[in-house]
Each structure stands twice: as structure tokens, then as C-alpha cells.
Amino acid sequence: MGLNPFETVREAVDLSPEVADTVKTTTCYMCACRCGIKVHLKNGKVRYIEGNGDHPVNRGVLCAKGSAGIMNHYSPARLTKPLRRKGPRGSGEFEEIEWGEALDEAVEALGAVRATDPRKLAFFTGRDQSQSLTGWWATQFGTPNFAAHGGFCSVNMAAAGLYTLGGAFWEFGEPDWEHTRYFIMFGVAEDHDSNPIKIGLGTLKTRGDAKFVSVNPVQTGYSAIADEWIGIRPGTDGLFVLALVHELLKAEKFDTAFLARYTNAPWLVIQDPGAADDGLFVRDDDGNPLVFDTTSESVVASSGVGLKPALVGEHILIDGRKAAPVFHLLAHRYLKDEYAPEAVADRCGLDVEQIRRIAAELAEVAFEQEITLDISWTDWNGREHQTMTGRPVSFHGMRGISAHSNGFHTCRAIHLLQILLGSIDVPGGWRYKAPFPKPIPPSPKPETAPPQSGKPLAGPPIGNPTGPEDLVLDPDGSPGRIDKAYSWEHPMSIHGLMHMVIHNAWAEDPYPIDVLLLYMANMSWNSSMNVPDTIKYLTETDDNGAYVIPKIIYSDAYYSEMVPYADLILPDTTYLERWDCISLLDRPISSAHGPADAIRQPVCPPERDVRPFQDVLLDLGARLGLPGMVREDGTPKFPGGYADYMTNHERAPGIGPLAGWRGNGAEHGRGDPNPDQLQAYIDNGCFWQHQLTEEQQYYKPFNKAYLVFAQEMGFIPAAEPMILQIYSEPLQLFRLAARGHGQRKPPEEHRARVDTYFDPLPIWYMPFEEAGVDTNDLPLHALTQRPMHMYHSWGSQNAWLRQITNSNRLFIHPETADDLGIADDEWVWIESHLGRVKGQVKLMRGVNRQTVWTWNAIGKRRGAWGLDNDAPEAAKGFLLNHVISELLPVREGGYRHSNSDPVTGQAAWFDLRVKVYRCSPQEAGATEPMFEPMQERAPFRPADGVVRYGQEFNTS
């Protein structure tokens, strides 16, 4: 310091402190996106987590959740030891037990079920990323009652995509961010597909030559940076899209060549009302679909070379019956005035001019701004193309489409629009991610043979049915599964119906179960519809005082709301303490540029007596003697746990959980197990990626070079083209059954429903809840979404993130609030046909005027997650789950269908209708319903509530 006492003091700043003594790569699990991370460790503690710059998913960036991973890893609510319930269910009174006792208890319960009636085990998992293991385990156990959480997540999108394109949004596809010039996002909540979409939107907007349109009732997150926000009324997206289709047809703006070559648009459909094959494709003796070739003027197999198939015009077949091409049928339908913008605009809450203009903009970009890449390629029937032509229009859709009871058809309508524009897997369009595209729909089918005691199922419990013969039914036609998946109620429920399991098990409908095994699913709270009744189902006893659901076994890493409702807790590790594989057999990390998969490796040893659930599952399998999990001498086949399985398990010869570095270490896709495989992954940053050649990059379903590659890799059974299915014959097969044809027919009470909703072309209908309640009494739609910094996040409590959001408001448009006499910040009741919940209002303009919404899964139960009882999450945070019914209002006949899409069983939680009214002054200030506090369990909570994480790393 100089003579001047106020002169700046120079501090000795250490500009190059040692950040870490070790840096390990692994895969994030703070949400579902599977980004690559670099974990900086110092003295065994986590110093810093950053995105891995080499990783194909996030390319070095990391979202708020991933950046807050430290606080989940060191959460106060981590479980420490296996627990056995002592008090009544829900109380949270447990005794700690040793792993040996816990496993014995589980084996005893599971072994008894398997020896008698394996389907009395219901095994359901939440945000699990090891479904290829858990599904295989269920198969070996012999229960059909297995699924993950897809039934309440996005099965409408998955099913619509798989049955139309052989791929789907998000998991199985992505926009061509590099080339797209017009991008529409339908109903994509905050932060879905977190970093890839954010990277993509940033790229697209920074490039400056593209338009981004967001169709969403709420203008937050991604919608906030859209060039155009279309604040549509919930559940009407299908109408909007079909009006766009109407406009494009009227103006002859569709890609005729694409339709004729790569879709079933020219396939002939039998037009013979009342016949057993009405509405099916005209086929030759070998089963090939037929088209009318305008060159030879004859009906020929669609796979012929050099055809010029007709897209319109009815034809008389040799047997004298009429047939028409698919395109003819669709044009006939969507040209009708009922699909005109004038007819739908009011219902959608949009202007006629806006719908017309969007159609015009789509046509302009698709057909006037086409892209040509100088890449030659050969299509499936040998046509050589010197260039790749792109129609640079791309779409992405998510929950706003999916979580409605009309979501399957709405998503099919979006795919129809993409197909008409010729923008499937072309430059600038929507592109598949390997191992997709797959045959439409992909194999396998769900196993239909009845379970047998002590035996594995002959095939997997989850698959894709192609007609009534693939339903999982008891001999009397009643549902064969506890969730009624693959029954006449929801024939194409390809992800199961996790949201119905607890209700049905309680109702013993279709039959009682003995053991409910759950993993990573907060089913007594924010992962269930109708929380108050779900708690009743979990705790109700019979006349003898025994629980109606006899045994509940649960695995979780944290003290969540679900833990107290289980009888036996198998404590899991955090994501930094485990092996995992992000497999091509399940939900890999591929991009449109090529297949990729990844692993998690333990970067810190657990300091608690906990075990990774996958290790435990394999251990239980070995103790139960399940096929594939024991050697011939009865010893465990994978004594090294999940890591051992990841390396050595083969699903088919040469095909294992991980595709990279197989065999001698130089083989990819197929190859023998390689004992050094995991080290090879670690050496490469914990992921494997294969770059497709330029020639294989686009037109993948029809691209010979790609198809040959995909077959070699084991992605598809044969190098055959995947012809896009605008018209879905499996749907028509179900409909014919409803009309009295075929071996298997729905019982009378389901016939009208199946007939109506199994339309082989997309339809729109009013969401069921809206149609079933008095909309004058319940005038508003109610939606939920999680905030960006918590979206898709498991272990939903975090010391840093809760400082950003720890209570939720009900957002209402000021004019709507004004009509209701509600002012900003007031407390209101939100009432549905099921019940009511109380919350505090926040006014915002960026919301559809007939819609209210809130942040989801902020509300916590007192006692859970290591939070104080007066935490805002418990006092003010509210869940709309409390007022969303898992059953629809009673309809004709008294039967209450589940509140789900009639085709896929997708939980329709965005169908919610409510009224909102001010609560009395005495009621203001705290949410209701308020449940009894759970007994606290927070072994790692600092006594003074102060977190000073990182002080030990400060070297300055």
C-alpha cells in the first residue's frame, strides 16, 4: 500500500488454483436427457460438474439441473440403509435392516408369487433408464405386469410415431437444426429435451434465416423466444393441424413424388362397407400391397420398379369390388369444409387469417425454398439420385400433444402434415435418430401366451400389437394385465398404464395382486393422478386388517413421498455412485448423425449402506433362479452386478447392452462380449458414437446404403424399406373387430368406442373430460409444466434449485381473472369434477385466455425430502394431481373408463377442466388439501440449516 490510505489494495488472487485432483467423465441423470459430464473431484469430493465438450448430446453445455447435481448428490434426504416398515403405511416409521434380511424378505415374497401365479407381481418403474434390463427381468420372472412410466409421459407420441413413421419425436428423432428454415414446436413444455433443443434453438435463431413458431397455450421458456407464439386452446392442436392440411390440399401444395415413392399414399384400400376386409389394403397372394400403375394401367405390387402409381381415382378390382388409393381417401376427408380454417378457428382460439397464413408460410418454405445437397444416393428400389432434396420445414411435439385423450390422433395428424410436405428425414426436415427408423410398427409384439407358474414369459410383456390377435386377454376376453394394457379398453397401450396400477390393484380389477415392486416413481404424490384416493388405495385394509395391496417393495435413493407407503425399502445410490448403460436396446443417446450409446461409471463411492437398484435386481434374479441370471450350476451369472451384465449379457448373439468396442475391441454393433469394453467407454468419455456416412444421412427409411448398414448393426431385421403409413391398417383391423369381424371381437360395451377411435386416418374429437363435464360449470382448461430448472428431474428437491422456485402460483390471464373478480396474488380454489385444491394467483398475459396453469411437482408433503415442515413447498406448493381423476366421469352404462387416450392408454392429465374462485379471507395463506406430515428422515441435514458447500476447496 502506498501513502494514500484510500489507494486500491491489491489482493493476491490465485489465478490458477488446482481445481481437481481427478476428473472423471460420466452421464448426467438430473433429468432424462443423458448429457455427458465431467466431474471434477478433489479429495474424493465433487468440486465441479461441467458439460463434456466432446459429448454428442450436450457438446459441453450443461443446464441448471445438471449444474446443481452436487446438491442432489449430497441431498439431506438420501436413504442410508434398507428399511422395513414398522408403523402403519404412510407413517414413515421404519426399522433399519441389513441387506441380507432385506433381500431374503424380497425373495420370499417374490418367490412365492412366481411359484404360484407370476402375474401377481406388478413391477413398474418411473424415470428409469434401464428398461431393457427391467423388462427382460420381468420376462424371466414370468409376469406380464411390467411397464415403465411412458403411459403417463408420452406414449401417444411414441405410438403415433411408431405406427406412422417407424420413429417418433424426441427419443427417435430431431429437427435438422443445421438446415431447417421453418420450425414449429407443438406443446413442448419448458426444457423438454433440455440441452439439445436449447442448443438447436440458439443455433437456428443466431443463424437468422429461419422462423420459429411455438404452438402452446403458455408463453414461457422456449415459447418466449419464438418468432410467433400461437396460444392455442388446449386439446385443439389436431384441429389446427388438419386445417393446415385442408389449406395445403386446396392449394395443391404437397409433395407428390415423395407421397408416391415413400408413403402408402398410392396403396389401394378396399371399399366394401360391411365386408370383413373393408378398409384393408388390396394385396396380392404374397401379401404385397397393390397400387394402380398409370403407365401399365394395371394393378400391381407397390414394390415394383419404375412404377407411376396413381394417387387418386377409384378402381374396380377383378372381383368387382371398389378400391381407392390412400391419398384419395385422405383428400376426400380433409377437403371437407369441416376442416376449413373458418370451421375450426373459434374452437382453437385462433384467427382464421393466422391459420391461413401459417399454411401459406409452410408451403412457401417447403416448396419455394427447397434445399439441394450435392450428395448422391440410391433408394430402396434402385433409383439413383444425384442430389438430396430437402423441404426445410421441421416439427417437434411433446406433452401438450401427448397428454390429451385425443393425443394419439393429434400426433398422427402432425405426422400427416410432415409427410404431405415431404419433410421426413430430408435436409431441413425432421430426422430419425438411430436405431430408428424401424419397421412400422417395430417388432416385437407383446407376449400373449398366459403366464405359467415358475416359468418365464415366452416373449416380452411390452411390444407393438398389429391387430386384435395381439391383445393380452384372459380366455374370457377380460384384461390379462393389471393395468388393462393391451385390452379392449386401450388396445395399443404400448407403454402400459402405470397410472392405473395402484387403482386397479386396490379394486382387484381385473384381479388382485400380491406384490407391487416400484422403482423411481413417486406414486403417492406427483407421479399419480388423484393423490388423495391413491393414498387410500395404498392404505386400505380388508376385514382382517390386512392391506388390500398386500406387499409393496420400493427402491429409491431419497426419502420421497412414496417411501412411507412401502413395506420394504431397497435404498438406491445417487447417479454419481453407479454403473448404468444408456443402451441402443432402450433409449440411447443417438443423433440424426449416427447411433450412440453411453455409460455411467461410479465417480464417488457411496458412503452409505446402499446399492444400485440394477445390481439388486440382478441379485434378486439370481436368488430366484431366473433364467439368464444364473449359470447351470445355480450360481449367479453376473456376480459383478450391473457392470458385469452390461459387458457380458447378450440379447441376441453378438448384440449386447452396449454397441461400442465389442469383440476384440474394434467391432461395433455386433460382436462377442469384450471384457475391456467398459474401460474403452471410460477412455472415450463414457460414450460411443458412430458417424453415418454422408450418403446414409438422409432418406434413411428408403436409403439403400443406410438400410444395409442398419441391418448389419442389428437395428432392423432386414434391409427393407419402411414405407410411411399415412393410413394405418392395424387401426382398421381393430375397427373391423368392433364391427363384428375376425376371431377376436370386443365385448359389446367396448364396440362403439373401438369403432369410433380406431380410425385408420387421423381424426379430431373433443377431449373426454371436456365432453363429459358441464363446461359452463367448469369453463377453464388447467395445465401443469415443470420449470426449466427442474424439468424431468428426479430427486426433485435441491438446495440450490429450490431457491429459484419453492412454491407455485396459478397463472391466469388478466382479462379472465377480471371476469372472475380475482386480483393478482389472491388465494383461490381450483375445482374439478373430482375435488378442489387451493393456491395463489399470479396474473400473466402470455397464456390462452381459457386456460390456467401452474408449475408442477413443486409442492411437497411435510416430512418428505428432508425439508422443514414450514417449507414453502409444503405450505404453499400445490399439485393439480390432487384434482385430476384417474377415471372419467360416469358415462352411459355406468362404466368409468380410465382418464386416458382410447387408443394408447396415455394418461390424459392435460384434459383437466376446472373452475377458479376466490377463497374466503380465513382460507388464504396456505394450500389445501394438507396431508398429515410424514415422519422426518433427513440424516444429512445441517443442524443450523446453513450450507457452506465448497469452503474446504477455497485455496485463496
Binding site: 489482493e11 459441453g60 450443461l62 437468422g208 418466449a224 402409381p309 441435514r941 458447500y949
Partner: protein, 253 residues
């Protein structure tokens, strides 16, 4: 009371934040907290972390608000990240009675020397941007260091030597560089996009810049070049005429 560098720093390191593509995801805020809670000013203390009023030290906070066009009623949601702007005329420095708050002469970064900070909070009163963060537990004022222990850190690979908020930003809305150099990428970006100073009337001469929203291509004013409606080829009821026309043309590929 504490003096700024006698000569203006030759470099002015700072941030450029693109409001047009910020989606308000909080990645920058949380990654900043994660880096810095173990960094130069460690820890970034959190009080009542699991209780009724959780509040901690954050160097970067995101504010989300709506802007409504009075004329049309149209609203726009804006996400606005706020952190220290490393001002040329930093009032938080000149107000400091102990010399703890200072501006580095070589790169312009404003720092606080925790050893000499007496926690009087004058600097937080002086800062018009609310960019100072008081750690009640330690009685010390803390603030954005521009990751001074990361951007020069020779133990890290070259590409990691940028502030945490910049390297983690998923949309690429945050940029880091020398705003004194007109040829730097950040300076050119500011020039191209008409980057602006926050509250210039305060006279603090902030170094950081914000990039404004680009004009939205929503055609609210009908000036876009694309057609506003498609011409219908045929307007016969239910499209009967079109189907007939397509049969005639055979519509084949």
C-alpha cells in the same frame, strides 16, 4: 473512497448477453454458483437451505417478466440475467471505505478482497444494478469475479478458460471477451447487433453489454414477404372438383 485504476485498464473483460435467445433456463446462474462456491470467494453460503426461507449467495440471477405492447395488447416474455457489469466507473469501488472493493488494472475485473471487507454494505447501496451479494454468515460482501480463477487457470484446458456462465449456456446466449478491443468477437457482435449498456444514465460505464430482441417474424404488421394465404385451386364444396381434377392429371410421380 477507494480509487479506481489510475489509467484505464488496457483490457476490459466482460460479458455480452443475447436477450433474443435467452430462454430463462437458469443454467448460467446455477453453474456460476457451482463453480464459485468452491472458488475465489468460496463458499457461496446458503442460509435456511432446507427451511422456510432458503436464501443464499448468487453471483448471477435471472429475472423473468412480461412486456406488453399497450397498442396491440400483445405480450412478450423476457428473460433477463443480471450480474456484475464490471463498470469502468464502478461506484461500488469508489464508495468502499477499506479498499476491499477494487478494480483490477490489467483486465478491469471488479473484485472484493474478503480479508479487508468489513461488511458495511456501502457498495451494495452504491451499485445501481443490485449486483452485490452479502454473505450474512461470513459478514463479507461477495460478487461476480468473472471467474477470475477459471479464465486464467493453467490447470484447465484452454477451452474451459471462460466464465462458467458462458461455457455452460445451452443456447449460446452468453459471450465473453475483451470489450476494449474493437476487433474482438464480442465487440463485433455488439456492433452488429446494436448491443446496449444497461442504464447508461447512471454514468457507471458498464463493460457488459446486452443484445436486444431481434424483430419477430410473426407478421403482426403484415409486412413479411411470404404470402398471407394460399390460392385455392378449386373451391368446390368438399373438394369434389379437386379430386376430379387430380384424376385427370393422374397425379403420379
Amino acid at each position: 473512497m477507494t480509487s479506481l485504476p489510475a489509467a484505464p485498464p488496457s483490457k476490459k473483460l466482460g460479458l455480452v448477453v443475447d436477450l433474443d435467445i435467452c430462454v430463462g433456463c437458469h443454467a448460467c446462474a446455477v453453474n456460476c454458483k457451482e463453480w464459485n462456491t468452491s472458488g475465489h470467494m468460496a463458499p457461496l453460503t446458503d442460509l435456511d437451505a432446507y427451511g422456510a426461507d432458503p436464501n443464499g449467495v448468487w453471483f448471477n440471477r435471472i429475472h423473468t417478466f412480461e412486456v406488453t405492447d399497450e397498442a396491440t395488447g400483445a405480450s412478450q416474455t423476457v428473460h433477463f440475467p443480471r450480474s456484475c457489469l464490471h463498470c469502468d466507473d464502478a461506484p461500488c469501488v469508489t464508495v468502499c471505505p477499506t479498499g476491499a472493493s477494487y478494480k483490477r488494472s490489467d483486465d478491469g475485473i471488479v473484485l472484493v478482497n474478503a480479508d479487508t471487507c468489513i461488511g458495511c454494505k456501502l457498495c451494495s447501496w452504491a451499485c445501481p444494478y443490485g449486483a452485490r451479494e452479502y454473505d450474512e454468515h461470513e459478514g463479507v460482501m461477495k460478487k461476480c469475479t468473472l471467474c477470475v480463477d477459471k479464465i486464467y487457470n493453467e490447470t484447465l484446458p484452454e477451452e474451459s478458460r471462460v466464465p462458467a456462465c458462458v461455457s455452460t449456456c445451452p443456447t449460446g446466449a452468453r459471450h465473453f471477451g475483451d470489450l476494449a478491443d474493437p476487433e474482438s468477437d464480442v465487440s463485433k457482435l455488439v456492433a452488429t447487433r446494436q448491443g446496449f449498456e444497461l442504464m447508461p444514465e447512471q454514468g457507471t460505464k458498464p463493460v457488459n453489454r446486452y443484445l436486444p430482441l431481434r424483430p419477430r417474424q410473426d407478421d403482426r404488421d403484415g409486412t413479411m414477404s411470404t404470402p398471407r394465404t394460399l390460392d385455392h385451386v378449386d373451391d368446390s364444396a368438399d373438394g369434389a372438383g379437386l379430386l376430379a381434377r387430380w384424376v385427370d392429371r393422374l397425379l403420379s410421380a
